[in-house]
Symmetry: D2
Subunit: 136 residues, 4 copies
């Protein structure tokens, strides 16, 4: 069991968003990973000779990192705002992941860090979608 799973299992309250606990844990982990990948990918793009072609990719990475970071925090709390706020947050995160994946995929053939980042974004997008479905 990873840390997010252990922390959820030892929480004295219930998960604030009813539904599959595995979907919640997977989404937390994917958001953490995606925030890191996007932060690192923006930085790697800055170090490329072709940086001027990567401007939108960098900026999209930064937005996606911001939203994944926020979402991983919100999902790590079981107390707090209503499921409505949590869902709105996941929706914003999902949309950012989709756009970031698309931009990174465009440069994925030439740049390995974009290829790796796109994969992580797609995985995060998927876990967001699954979590929304699990919440209902």
């Amino acid at each position: 069991m990873g840390t997010p799973s252990i922390m959820l299992a030892t929480h004295p309250g219930a998960a604030r968003i009813a539904g599959d606990r595995d979907a919640l844990v997977s989404c937390i982990e994917a958001c953490m990973e995606c925030a890191q990948a996007c932060t690192a990918c923006a930085d790697a793009c800055l170090a490329e000779d072709a940086v001027s072609d990567l401007v939108t990719c960098i900026a999209t990475n930064l937005d996606c990192a911001t939203l994944c970071r926020a979402t991983s925090q919100i999902l790590s709390r079981q107390e707090g705002t209503s499921a409505q706020v949590v869902k709105a947050t996941i929706h914003a995160c999902l949309a950012a992941c989709t756009e970031c994946a698309e931009h990174c995929e465009e440069h994925g053939e030439a740049m390995e860090h974009c290829r790796a980042c796109a994969k992580v974004c797609r995985r995060c997008e998927e876990t967001c979608r699954e979590l929304l479905a699990a919440i209902g």
Copy 2:
């Protein structure tokens, strides 16, 4: 002119969300203020003797701080994800501000920091609503 206004005015590109620049600047400033107020209010609640009555207020403050912080970052960038993602982010932020204001208002008579925080949340809620209206 405050810093967010100067930074927007000196940006070489256009604002990614069309509409009123004043509404954008007001929302950035309100999000910054609200993130700070909620962080400080959660901390002040922790220092109250009646902390066990303030648990939901604290947790809601933390969620609201997280979302206001993320939103102020997203709005401070003119490059990056589409207006769609920006709008989804503002919607999540607005919803968190409404809920946080409601919780803080409940304790506003007894606790000055909750009263002050509620005001800032209501102001942020309003600027989010105005920005969404300006974007269309």
Copy 3:
């Protein structure tokens, strides 16, 4: 009185770092402003034709934004870790502001957003130094 000042005045506990309350409030406000300015300056640099000359400036802006954001949160709490941790955080923030100001000043003649950002970084650097002096 601004929001950070009101939140500090209405906190039921004492400030965890003894010393001048004005120095604390000024540093919180400067960190908030600097995080915003650096986020916006990185984004404005990305929109410049000469982006490939601004790579270090952008990356430094991003580090400085991260540290100013973290520092404004830590300083907004009066409970929590010891003054030792708070001081170490201010030291890291101060060092980032100095470096970011230097990079932005290099491009300040050609780019107004770098000039504006450098000023905010210098102000933040100064408030960090004053707060460290006030703490002793």
Copy 4:
């Protein structure tokens, strides 16, 4: 290989802090995990009947989460501020982890989430120390 390791391996530049790449990756991963654990532990403490005994633990968790989150971002970038700023950041993070581990260990017998969080803090503390040693 985990995501931080892949992102580092595919970066076109060198790591800005010379030394062991494994130590860098381990520290990024531990900071990500610790930020999540501390966020979740603060939330779990809020849900405990004995919340009034856990106030310092909660506030320390929040500071530690803030610093681990910032440190994981700084370490995920190879461009940006100097090694001096990176080291100052790791020092602040290390100090927060030590204090947070101590507080969580106090309640570790009674509360499983504090026990789990303390372990993650100790691991993060260790990776910070090892990274500082590797940098020299």
